[in-house]
């Protein structure tokens, strides 16, 4: 179980690193594009499509699972202040158990769309022929990893609740010391 958690954490770190590089590349491309446009009258024709079709999806989907495991997502934790740690873990178990099938469905549907687009050689017509499967494949990749993360977290919470070791900590409470110190995504 610990090994599996470590593997998922590595995969999340890898995807988040790729997303960081893509974010840097996006800024560099947009800035260079502005210089090329106003300085040399030769803007990039591909920058808008590359950023809007591919890069923004990388930024979103590649950070999904990492954002969840780092507790960087939006979460409503009003009740968490009034219940015991054990009840909070029950909340976390329910949350993971309910979310996993939803993201599994998203992963399956988007995967099928990507496969269909690949099989049909779907291409967005235009100055550059952008293959659609390449950006459609980003969604199942990110959501499949999140599904795996949710399933493993649910199992870890169940293990902890049944008296086993606490393989993953509880989400930190906002404004608490642990929340202020340890929950930064950056």
């Amino acid at each position: 179980m610990s090994a599996l958690l470590a593997v998922i954490a590595r995969a999340e770190a890898l995807l988040a690193t790729i997303a960081s590089v893509v974010l840097g590349a996006t800024m560099a491309i947009v800035a260079t594009d502005v210089v090329m446009r106003y300085g040399f009258n030769h803007p990039f024709g591909w920058s808008y499509d590359l950023v809007s079709l591919y890069f923004t999806l990388v930024l979103f989907y590649f950070c999904l699972s990492r954002a969840f495991s780092a507790h960087a997502h939006v979460a409503v934790d009003i009740l968490h202040y009034y219940v015991s740690a054990r009840t909070r873990r029950v909340f976390a178990l329910i949350s993971c158990t309910l979310s996993a099938p939803l993201f599994a469905i998203i992963a399956a549907v988007t995967f099928q769309r990507a496969v269909d687009a690949f099989a049909r050689h779907d291409i967005i017509e235009g100055a550059i022929e952008w293959p659609t499967w390449a950006y459609l494949a980003l969604a199942p990749l990110g959501t499949a990893l999140l599904t795996l993360r949710l399933l493993v977290d649910a199992t870890a919470h169940a293990v902890a609740l049944s008296g086993g070791p606490e393989l993953i900590p509880l989400p930190p409470l906002a404004r608490s010391d642990e929340g202020l110190e340890g929950a930064s995504f950056e």
């Binding site: 803007p43 024709g45 779907d122 017509e125 235009g126 100055a127």
Partner: protein
């Protein structure tokens, strides 16, 4: 038997079954979704009459509920939304779906027809039941085209303060296109094509991320671009987009024959009337932009010759690229040009 009928479970099942069966006299409600502002000419001259005429012809038996202005989803997602049944009738613009309907973007090729009605007639020939576009693209995408027409020929409109004295002045400018063949046309002119939906042009022009757009003047007016515009071409044919309101095939096949006949008849009538209405609206919109002081440019003779050469090159490149992907580009281009020739005003 009597004992079975008395069982509560049977009664509940029978009630559910009866409730699920559609009575013949039931009203049919179809959801029509588009991405246009309610004031857009397409809504005023096509969608609203369509809804009203269908309701009148069926005495209210077929009701069409209208969801304009991307209420059900983005214009670019209309194909998927219609296929999924979110909408029964969708505003399907092949240029926005060029990955799934590449052949239907043939109307974007420049310099093929002289009048809107000629282009409309050619398009109707290709999308008729069993015709090449119906068989190759609409049916495989689970659609039946109902209303189908072309927007007036697109013009190059600029918000950039750069004066548009000749077409070469468009070189290096970022120009919005609906994608597809119009990208190739702009590249031939040395401009940089940017593919965005019409609803995003205003924001792009105001921020300076777009210098201009390929668009019909009536759309420019509908999207309130007038105050941003500085110049634009007049009387050119940069190609245009086909607009369809297509019904999901599953929904269509489930409709009673009389409802199908009514929808077909009214759709065909509106499709045939569309070109004259749009040509008239284009003239009115031209008057509006003229009044705003926009510099309307008629190309010089040398520009005209250069344009013709560029257009021929664009058509050849477009067909070649599709052929290379096994998509019958040359066949569809020839079919469209032949249909346009056959529909040429004598």
């Amino acid at each position: 038997m009597g004992r079975i009928l008395e069982r509560p479970a049977f009664a509940v099942a029978a009630a559910l079954l009866l409730a699920a069966l559609p009575a013949r006299a039931d009203k049919i409600t179809l959801r029509l979704a588009d991405g246009l502002p309610t004031t857009h000419i397409i809504n005023r001259t096509i969608v609203e009459p369509f809804i009203r005429q269908v309701s009148e012809a069926t005495h209210g038996a077929v009701e069409i509920r209208h969801f304009p202005a991307e209420q059900l989803g983005k214009s670019r997602d209309m194909l998927m939304l219609t296929q999924a049944g979110v909408a029964d009738i969708g505003f399907i613009v092949p240029s926005y779906q060029s990955d799934r309907m590449p052949l239907s973007t043939v109307t974007e090729l420049p310099g093929i027809f002289q009048t809107s009605c000629q282009g409309d007639a050619a398009l109707r020939t290709l999308t008729a039941e069993g015709a090449i576009l119906d068989e190759r693209e609409f049916k495989p995408n689970g659609l039946k085209p109902l209303i189908i027409f072309l927007m007036p020929a697109y013009q190059l409109i600029l918000s950039s303060s750069r004066p548009l004295g000749a077409l070469k002045d468009a070189g290096g400018l970022k120009i919005r296109t609906p994608g597809g063949a119009m990208d190739l046309t702009l590249m031939e002119l040395g401009a940089v094509p940017i593919r965005v939906g019409p609803g995003d042009i205003y924001e792009g022009m105001s921020r300076g991320t777009l210098d201009g757009a390929l668009l019909a003047y009536q759309s420019a007016v509908a999207y309130h671009l007038g105050p941003l515009l500085k110049s634009g071409t007049l009387g050119q044919d940069f190609g245009t987009v086909a607009v369809t309101f297509s019904i999901r095939l599953k929904t269509w096949n489930a409709l009673p024959a009389d409802a199908q006949e009514t929808l077909s008849r009214i759709s065909q009538s509106l499709s045939r009337q569309a070109c004259e209405k749009f040509d008239k609206a284009e003239q009115e919109s031209l008057a509006t932009v003229r009044a705003l002081g926009i510099n309307l440019v008629t190309p010089t003779d040398s520009d005209h010759a250069a344009l013709e050469a560029a257009f021929a090159q664009v058509r050849a490149n477009w067909a070649k690229r599709l052929d290379a992907r096994g998509k019958a580009g040359t066949e569809i281009m020839k079919a469209f040009m032949d249909a346009a020739e056959a529909a040429k005003p004598r």
